[in-house]
């Protein structure tokens, strides 16, 4: 078995850079406050971006000691910030003092969750099952050999490219076991560890003991005391003797250094829905600025869906309101789409139609994945529109004219002449009919919906003239009456009508009716 480990170094930094892409390439430090022993008050702990020491120890009164401990400190920083002297553990003010132009960003739980979920989607782009472990994912790569005949380097490069598309820079290692792959990601950007024990041991030999100890400072110090510098030095020692002196962790490090590992690999299928979230620094009450926030979420969600070759079939927005309250809404989507502009437009329309009751301080976007329908082309038929483009077009049309006005027309189960239904369009294959057409085409009616009320003049001979909103004409010939009634079993919806086909003086033939209940006249449309 060959297992790939994909590792996101500096997950917190990369998580905030995903939602703040303009901060890439400039000095950035990520602040994080240590967790409180008790839950924070409502509204506390929010904020996505700050500028130099906000929320620092300069607060003044209160339990100063406790607040001092709660100061947000730099946990991660970009290479540009490192060059300027920013170090982990500094407060925001200290970091800003050593680095002019430093951007201080606060990482939230939502950022971390979204980045970890995006990393998982990268894994699902390559394997049906993956194992998630914080800033790492693991998946099997043996099935990818046919897709990437160039070898494991090509697989690793493809994984890095996929991760870059969702805004993550990753390290990839492929090895015979999970632990060895994890260890190898700590050492190199791309690491390929052979399966055989001898070559695997040689590949890992240059890894420093600090990396081998995997954040266990005591173990690394013990190796140093023994004069060991690299994994190769550790691998040369008998494992039983190392285990006797350093316990199970030492024995495990010794086995890892030899390329031996028995850590179980437990992959899982993906969750159905996909989530992106952001917590805002201040409440947003206007639709326009909120659209910018939403745009980022939609882009990131669709980017992740694309990695899994999926489209979005539904969007649920969970809006956190200020000062409290939640507004949950489902945005209707006519057809699965991967078009960000369409989804954004639909969400905007929904928000404009039903504005939230209070300003928004956080948003969680839940995207329902759907597979775009694959169709088998017919050699004898025209290709027709591509399913994904058609779906995106239908969604955009729905956003433009309303979801109820796009689809395939359908006949309603009623005798009301003006009734019409709209059902989802299905471009199914039907038997081809090579009709040449009839010399006499079938006349149709162009309906007015709802029927337009008109004023009808009646003389001794019958219908004489009518006047409507746009049409005033004398009646030259009137064919009828045709009586129609129904739905009398419904208290308010029953109808009783007398229809006429009238040839009017403007040259057109109209369909009109008189309502039997109140005697009013209506124009149903004209034959055309």
């Amino acid at each position: 078995m060959r297992i790939a480990c994909v590792f996101v170094p500096q997950l917190a930094l990369q998580a905030v850079l995903r939602r703040t892409p303009d901060a890439r390439g400039v000095p950035v430090a990520v602040l994080e406050a240590p967790p409180l022993p008790n839950p924070p008050p409502a509204g506390g702990g929010r904020g996505s971006e700050s500028n130099g020491g906000r929320g620092s120890e300069s607060g003044g009164r209160g339990s100063d000691k406790a607040r001092g401990r709660r100061v947000a400190r730099v946990v991660e920083f970009s290479p540009e910030a490192r060059r300027e002297g920013v170090r982990a553990g500094m407060t925001g003010a200290q970091a800003a003092a050593v680095c002019a132009g430093l951007r201080l960003l606060t990482v939230t739980a939502a950022d971390r969750e979204a980045a970890a979920a995006a990393l998982a989607d990268v894994g699902y782009a390559f394997a049906p099952r993956i194992e998630r472990a914080g800033e790492r994912i693991f998946f099997e790569t043996e099935d990818l050999a046919r897709l990437y005949p160039a070898g494991e380097t090509a697989i690793a490069q493809a994984v890095q490219a996929a991760a870059a598309r969702v805004g993550l820079g990753v390290r990839v290692a492929i090895a015979a076991s999970k632990g060895v792959a994890r260890l190898a990601t700590r050492a190199r950007e791309i690491a390929l560890v052979p399966t055989a024990a001898g070559p695997a041991r040689a590949a890992l030999a240059s890894i420093p003991v600090e990396t081998l100890a995997e954040d266990d400072a005591a173990l690394a110090a013990a190796f140093r005391r023994w004069g060991l510098r690299t994994a190769g030095d550790v691998a040369a020692l008998p494992i039983d003797a190392v285990g006797l002196r350093l316990g199970p962790t030492g024995a495990r490090a010794g086995r890892l250094a030899r390329g031996e590992d028995d850590e179980p690999f437990v992959p899982r299928l993906p969750d159905d829905a996909l989530e992106e979230a952001i917590e805002l620094d201040y409440p947003v009450a206007e639709l326009e600025p909120f659209s910018f926030v939403l745009r980022g979420l939609v882009d990131r969600a669709l980017g992740r869906l694309r990695e899994r070759s999926l489209a979005c079939a539904g969007v649920t927005l969970r809006l956190a309101l200020d000062p409290r309250g939640v507004d949950v809404r489902t945005v209707p989507i006519a057809a699965p789409t991967g078009d960000a502009a369409t989804l954004l437009q639909l969400a905007r329309l929904d928000l404009a139609r039903r504005p939230p009751a209070a300003p928004i301080v956080g948003v969680r976007l839940l995207a329902l994945p759907a597979r775009v329908r694959a169709t088998q082309l017919d050699m004898l038929r025209p290709a027709g529109p591509a399913p994904d483009r058609l779906a995106a077009t239908i969604a955009r049309l729905a956003a433009l004219v309303g979801p109820d006005n796009v689809g395939a027309p359908a006949i309603e189960e009623t005798w009301r002449e003006e009734a019409v239904g709209v059902v989802p369009l299905t471009l199914t294959l039907s038997p081809l009919r090579g009709e040449r057409g009839s010399e006499q085409a079938r006349l149709t009616i162009r309906r007015r919906r709802p029927p337009e009320e008109i004023e009808m003049l009646i003389d001794r001979e019958g219908l004489a003239a009518f006047r409507g909103r746009e049409t005033t004409a004398r009646v030259l010939v009137a064919a009828g009456p045709y009586r129609l009634s129904g739905e009398w079993w419904k208290e308010e919806h029953g109808f009783s009508r007398t229809y006429w086909d009238v040839h009017a003086s403007d040259g057109a033939v109209y369909r009109v009716h008189q309502d039997g209940r109140d005697g009013r006249w209506y124009l149903d449309g004209y034959y055309d």
Partner: protein
């Protein structure tokens, strides 16, 4: 003595004349043999076409006949319907496969945008833009966009409106004028159909030289009941 310079045959073979362009495009049956004869084989493919006429001139019937013909041939078709005047029972009777027709009902001001979206999706062989009683209010640039879009996507964009608007962007134009409706008298009069006169404004064999008035006109019969 002719003063026309002789073209290099090699260069001539690369020139695409209007006639050759039309041959490449081909034509689609309109579903009405008399109209096919008038148009020289049907509506041109990959082109913007116009169909104009007053109320009860058979304009909608011609649209449905073209949609029915396209859907029967397994093609993808869409109807952008200003005001939503489509009657599904009559459309079905005209042979339109309702479940495979993309129907977009909209207000007049959104019709051009909706048609442009459908055209941009690609893959639709026929898009009918039925403006109903609304006069087209699209700037010239809009018609040029439609023309190029139809050519690029290989779509016949058939615009039905009370009056012409696309000008030289339309590859074929048929103007309809309603005749007297037919009523059959069996006791009380019963509406039977209309007769309309179709005049081809543009669209067939224009490169072949002048033609008679009769060749540009046709009489079309529309029946109300089968």
């Amino acid at each position: 003595m002719s003063s026309r310079p002789a073209l290099d045959p090699a260069l001539l073979s690369h020139l695409v004349t209007a006639q050759r362009l039309e041959e490449r495009r081909g034509r689609r049956g309109s579903g009405i043999p008399a109209l096919d004869r008038l148009l020289g084989g049907g509506w041109p493919r990959a082109a913007l076409c116009e169909l104009t006429g007053r109320r009860s001139s058979g304009r909608t019937a011609i649209l449905y006949a073209a949609l029915a013909r396209a859907l029967a041939a397994g093609e993808a078709a869409a109807l952008v319907d200003v005001g939503g005047g489509l009657d599904p029972r009559y459309a079905l009777a005209a042979g339109v496969a309702l479940s495979r027709l993309l129907w977009v009902r909209c207000a007049a001001d959104l019709a051009a945008k909706a048609a442009d979206l459908v055209l941009g999706a690609g893959g639709f062989d026929l898009i009918a833009l039925d403006l109903g009683d609304e006069r087209p209010r699209l700037p010239a640039a809009g018609w040029i966009r439609f023309k190029h879009g139809a050519e690029k996507q290989g779509t016949t964009l058939l615009v039905a409106a009370p009056a012409r608007a696309a000008g030289s962007c339309a590859a074929a134009v048929v103007e309809l004028s309603p005749g007297a409706p037919r009523f059959v008298a069996d006791g009380a009069p019963l509406f039977a159909g209309v007769q309309a006169r179709a005049v081809r404004g543009r669209g067939a064999h224009e490169h072949a030289g002048p033609e008679s008035e009769e060749a540009r006109c046709a009489s079309l019969a529309f029946s109300c009941r089968s």
